[in-house]
Every structure is written in C-alpha cells, then in structure tokens.
Symmetry: C2
Subunit: 235 residues, 2 copies
C-alpha cells in the first residue's frame, strides 16, 4: 500500500465541504425553527416569510462576515506568533532550546537522541521556528485566501438551507399548512444531510441522520411553544 | 524565566471563555438584525418580541445542541482513530514506521537521528500510537466532559446576547423607538465585546471593536432592507 493512499484514509473532507456543512447545519435549523415558532403565533404567512427572509439575511451575513473576520484574525495571529518565536529564538535561545528538548522528551525519545535532535532542529532558525509553531503551538500556517472563500461558501450554504423550510410558506395558503409542509420537507432534508455529513466524518450515518433531525425538531418545537406563550400573553 | 510562565504567553483563553465568545458573537448579532429587520416591516413591537424570542430559543438550541453533538462526535472520532492506528501498528508496522520516519525527516532531523528516533518511538505501541495521533493526525484527546459544558455555555451566551437587543422593544412603545434604542445598546455592547474579545486573542482591540460593530450593523441594515422590500410587496 503506497503511503499516499494510506494517508487518505484519515482525510475527512475538504475545506469547502466543511464550510457547506457548517452553513447548512444552522441554515436548515434556525430559519425552520423561527418559521415554525411564528406559525403558532401569527395568522399571516406573509409575516412569516418576512421574518424568515430577514433571519436568513441576518444569519448569512453574521456567519459569513464573522467567518471572514475570524479567518483574517487567524492569519494575523499566525504571523504575530511567528514573529514572537523568531524574537525568542534570537533573544532567549536557551529557553527555546529547552522547550524543543521537552517536546522531544514527551514524544518518548531517549536523552541521548534528544540531545542529537535538539542540535539538528535548532541549527537553522527558520526550521527551528517552524518546528515550534507546529509542534509546540500546534499551529499550521493558514491560507490567506481561505477566509473570503469560506465566508461566501458558509453564507451561501446558510441561505440555501434557510430557503428550503421557508419555501413551504410561499406555496401554501395558511401558516398551519406552511408549518406542516415546512416540517416534512425540512426533516427529510435534515435526515439526508445528517446521513451524508456523518458518512463524510466517518460516523454511523443513520444515527447521524436521526441526531440532525432531532436537533431541528427540538429547536422548532421549543420556538413554537415560546412564541405561542409570548403571543398569547402579549398581543 | 521558568518555562511554565513562558508557555502562558501563548495561551489565548480557556475553553469556557471561547464558548462565551462563540455564543455572544452570534447572539448579539442575529436577533438584533432580525428585530431591526422587522422594525422596518411591521407595526407591532409585540410581534418583534415574539419573533425575537422564537429566534433566541431556536438559535440557542441549534447552537447548544449542535455544539454538544459535534463534541460527542469528536470524542467518538478520536476513539475510532486510536483503534485504527493500533490496528495499523499491529498489521502494517513497516508502513507505520515509514510514516514516523517521514514525519521526523520533515521536522528536519538527519537520516542517522531519524533512524535512532524511529527505533525509540516505535519501541512501545502505546507511545507509538500516541505519537501518530498527535503528530501525524494532529489530534489531541478530547475531554468527554467538555461537550455538555460547552453546549450549556454557548446556548446561555447566545440567549444573553440575544436578550440585550430585544430588551429595547420591551421598554419602548413603537418598533421605531425600539429599533433606535436597540441599535444604540447593541452597538455599544458589540464595541465593548469586540474590544475584550480582541484583547483575549491578542489582536488590536480598537480595530476588533469596530469590526464587531460593523458586522452587527451590516447584518441589521441588510435585514432591514430585505424585510421592508418583502413586506412592501407582500402584505
């Protein structure tokens, strides 16, 4: 078995697939639950559509822009830590050398091999800093192009996910009929999505499908009862 | 400088603080933007409160339960990978030994030291698997107690964050007055939250505060215009 093939066993999914999963998970759940909640409290499908679309826009921007800024922060954070490690390697090399040695001891190397390895790893300061970043801090160099891509993918997936439950209210006459069809369509989508998401991450797919659907159903049921309670007392 | 003190320089924040940040980021933004959106489309503060509370409940459950299930999946995934590595160390030790050697070569060790280190690291199968988990797969053993704690913290932070913008609609007579006060209160909270969040993660705090407030404002403005557009045409 060639090593490349072997390594692929552990790969779970690409960055884009992960972003789609993040966006769809919340997009299918929250707008669905909000619309379900309002179905128990208001008489107009138009109002539910207005609130649902406002939520989809708000959620897409919050998730997309939030994800973009988090990605930019990660890039800045990595650069700052690289600069700090370079500084430390220059100013307190003995402390940094001891840290390399402690890491190697923790891996399970003998003192003699630790001494050899410390000498080789700290011979070149670029390599030394790369070693500290990856193995002391556990940081991989982030791709600066990833943040805008992730933002668009997450926001798009959230919007697509949210429009699925909301579409039922466009196509039915009353909030009650909308809720019924929205529930049916969304639970089917959550089951299918949970099934494939679990397969991607190597989990039991049927159990994953049921968990995903149960999360959506729990959020929708809770929103329904809270909205009914509030609207019953409030207006 | 003792090594423990030194290591703390890189620590950004505890798991609980991170969960609070996750919950507050979305909690302050999405319910605020939804309420702002509806303020441009409906005449009743009661409706905005109903929709806002339904959204807060839906979002808290989706984020909390979603986070809980993701945490459980991570624990299961780790166990499955440990079992797989043990199996591979038993059945294809030469492949696994070559992987250890490739990792050591990538760190920058000489072939002679690689050979020594491979021998020592693969002498004990427990240690060998621990090495593969941490340095080949980059996986740390997750704490099984973390998932329920994170779920409660994230859901609670989302609910607290969401009630801040919504509180303005309880205390004012019209959606327009609610929107004004909600905007003022929420932007102040986003600035303060962005400031402290940035300090926690070692970023420029004033810039971080402005970015956080801009995200909330962008989401609210977009939701406002979409809701007004839809309700103007719809009912």
């Amino acid at each position: 078995m060639p090593p490349v093939m072997h390594a692929e066993h552990h790969l779970t999914s690409s960055a884009m697939l992960q972003d789609i999963v993040i966006g769809l998970s919340d997009g299918l759940t929250v707008p669905f639950a909000l619309a379900a909640g309002l179905s128990g409290a208001v008489q107009s499908s138009g109002l539910i559509i207005t609130a649902g679309l406002a939520e989809i826009v708000a959620g897409s921007i919050a998730m997309g822009l939030g994800g973009y800024l988090a990605g930019r922060t990660e890039v800045d954070h990595y650069s700052a830590e690289v600069a700090r490690e370079h500084e430390e390697v220059r100013t307190v090399p003995d402390v940094e050398r001891r840290e390399v040695q402690e890491l190697l001891a923790e891996m399970g190397l003998s003192p003699a091999t630790q001494a050899l390895a410390v000498k080789e790893l700290t011979a070149d300061s670029q390599q030394w800093v790369r070693f500290m970043m990856k193995y002391e801090l556990g940081l991989e160099e982030p791709d600066p192009k990833q943040a805008p891509k992730s933002a668009v993918t997450i926001a798009g997936a959230y919007a697509v996910g949210g429009l699925i439950p909301l579409s039922a209210y466009f196509l039915t006459a009353t909030p009650q009929a909308g809720l019924l069809w929205s529930g049916v369509i969304t639970l089917v989508c959550l089951l299918v999505f949970g099934y494939f998401k679990s397969r991607l991450t190597g989990q039991a797919p049927v159990l994953g499908a049921l968990k995903m659907a149960a999360t959506g159903a729990a959020a929708a049921a809770a929103a329904f009862f809270v909205a009914r309670l509030v609207s019953g007392g409030g207006h």
